[in-house]
């Protein structure tokens, strides 16, 4: 352990799977104490178990204001402060294009991806201010930068996260509270979210190949690629970085 996050306390949403789980592990490896949260209790507990004595699981639905209050109480009760928030809980939906996307799809995607991230930022400010600063890392997507026909609400939600991030960063800057807020824009990555999507298709292999070909590197990355950037943004190495979006996408947006 090289200790890039020594003495830091982190809260990770969506910690039962994908980027959330990989980030929790990477942050703990570098010395952080981590509260893992998710609606998926079994897998959330499993992530916490991987952290040994460096973390615990707390169930939370990111769309619930009450759950956030409750979770903050749990983190502060256990570790007395909060330095890092990683907003990784997120969903994608089928039938998400401008003609098929109905109220239910729209609300589901927007609630989790955008409102959930907004609530996280809101609840993190006060404890981080008391800790003398902190780092909020929001998971946006390359679909915050480029459009995709079959990801209407998803694109809208991630575009929202991208600018929500900047507004929070500017606010915290003016407030001189030491809190930084940044977004990460991953390309398509091999996590449960993507496998779930591929499982809905007849031509699974064909779609995987098509997606891979959209990335200049010709392959899809995995959760660890994102976790390394989460680590950088969570650590003091990035103390001058705020309000930006870090693209980790195998060249998806370069061309």
């Amino acid at each position: 352990m090289s200790g890039r996050l020594k003495n830091k306390v982190a809260l990770v949403t969506g910690g039962a799977s994908g980027f959330g789980r990989a980030s929790a592990i990477r942050l703990a490896e570098e010395g952080a104490l981590v509260c893992v949260t998710d609606v998926n209790e079994a897998e959330g507990e499993a992530t916490a178990a991987m952290l040994g004595n460096r973390g615990f699981f707390h169930r939370m639905d990111v769309t619930s204001d009450g759950d956030w209050t409750d979770t903050m109480r749990a983190v502060l009760g256990r570790y007395a402060k909060l330095d890092v928030l990683v907003n990784s809980a997120g969903v994608a939906a089928a039938q998400d294009n401008i003609e098929e996307c109905d109220d239910a799809v729209w609300d589901f995607v927007m609630d989790v991806n955008l409102t959930g991230t907004y609530l996280g930022c809101r609840h993190a400010i006060a404890p981080m201010r008391r800790a003398g600063g902190g780092s909020i890392v929001n998971l946006a997507s390359v679909l915050a930068l480029k459009g995709e026909g079959g990801a209407l609400a998803y694109c809208a939600s991630k575009g929202g996260v991208r600018l929500l991030t900047k507004a929070v960063a500017v606010h915290c800057g003016h407030d001189k509270n030491g809190i930084r807020c940044n977004a990460i824009c991953p390309g398509y990555m091999l996590t449960a979210m993507l496998y779930d999507f591929l499982d809905t298709l007849n031509d699974r292999e064909g779609e995987h190949a098509r997606l891979a070909s959209m990335h200049a590197l010709g392959r899809l990355g995995d959760a660890d690629d994102v976790a390394q950037m989460v680590l950088f943004l969570a650590s003091d190495e990035s103390r001058f970085v705020t309000g930006t979006e870090m693209v980790v996408d195998g060249g998806f947006t370069a061309g």
């Binding site: 800057g173 003016h174 930084r180 200049a216 001058f240 870090m246 980790v248 195998g250 060249g251 370069a254």
Partner: protein
């Protein structure tokens, strides 16, 4: 364990500011580093401070023969070359009206063509065994400054040069990644000279401090840490990306 063990880095502009900080941090993470700068004397000094992991060579990035020699010196000293950091650059004040053709030419020659020359040599060498190229652009390469005409243009060029190289290498399956870093205002000799040349340095400084919401001043190490990330395998999926490190200046 170092994050850049086995890396061999050539850092242009390595005698000062961001380049020098990058050289120090890369060496601290296990890399061997060739400091390549027009200011050979300062280059020797920085290399000596770093110790056994570093050497220095005189390089004028605007000169083709000088580039060949610097690359040869790197291969000779360390037996390979896997990281290029293009940090050599110059800043001149000037608008579309006030700027002389001579200034325009010099900025393009060093900031753009100097970076292009280095990338060309790096791609030729690294396509076999892989590597990482990090180019110093600027926030001025994304949002122009009205009195930084040639400079903004040069940094915009570096931004797209970077993406073109990234795509070219990726298309061929070469393990050469190429990314740009976009610093905000960083406390280096370049910045301090720039302020000193202003009619009212204090006012100019205050104005720039206002631009960055974060309210702290950027140090060369703040850029150096990003360069370490891009040089290491932690960023193996990152290519053609532009990394902004600017105290929030561009967020609004």
């Amino acid at each position: 364990m170092g994050r850049c063990n086995d890396r061999i880095a050539l850092v242009t502009g390595g005698a000062s500011g961001i380049g020098a900080a990058a050289a120090r941090l890369l060496a601290a993470q296990g890399a061997r580093v060739m400091i390549a700068d027009r200011d050979a004397e300062k280059g020797v000094k920085v290399a000596r401070e770093i110790g056994a992991a570093a050497q220095s060579v005189r390089l004028d990035v605007a000169d083709a023969a000088s580039w060949e020699a610097a690359v040869a010196a790197t291969l000779e000293a360390f037996g390979g070359w896997t990281v290029l950091v293009n940090s050599a650059g110059i800043l001149r004040h000037g608008s579309i009206e006030s700027e002389s053709l001579e200034d325009w030419r010099q900025i393009m020659e060093i900031n753009v063509k100097g970076t292009w020359r280095g990338c060309k040599l790096a791609v030729a060498h690294m396509k076999e065994a892989g590597g990482s190229i990090v180019n110093l652009s600027s926030i001025a390469g994304i949002e122009a400054g009205s009195d930084l005409c040639a400079y903004s243009v040069s940094k915009g060029a570096v931004r797209l040069l970077t993406k073109s190289i990234a795509l070219y290498c990726a298309d061929r399956g070469w393990q050469v990644r190429c990314n740009s870093v976009h610093p905000g205002i960083i406390e280096t000799p370049m910045l301090h000279t720039y302020f000193a040349e202003q009619p009212d340095p204090e006012a100019e400084r205050a104005a720039w401090d206002q631009v960055m919401p974060l309210g702290i001043r950027g140090e060369p190490e703040d850029i150096g840490h990003m360069i370490v990330y891009l040089a290491s395998d932690e960023s193996r999926l990152v290519t053609g990306a532009e990394m902004v490190v600017d105290g929030g200046a561009m967020a609004r």
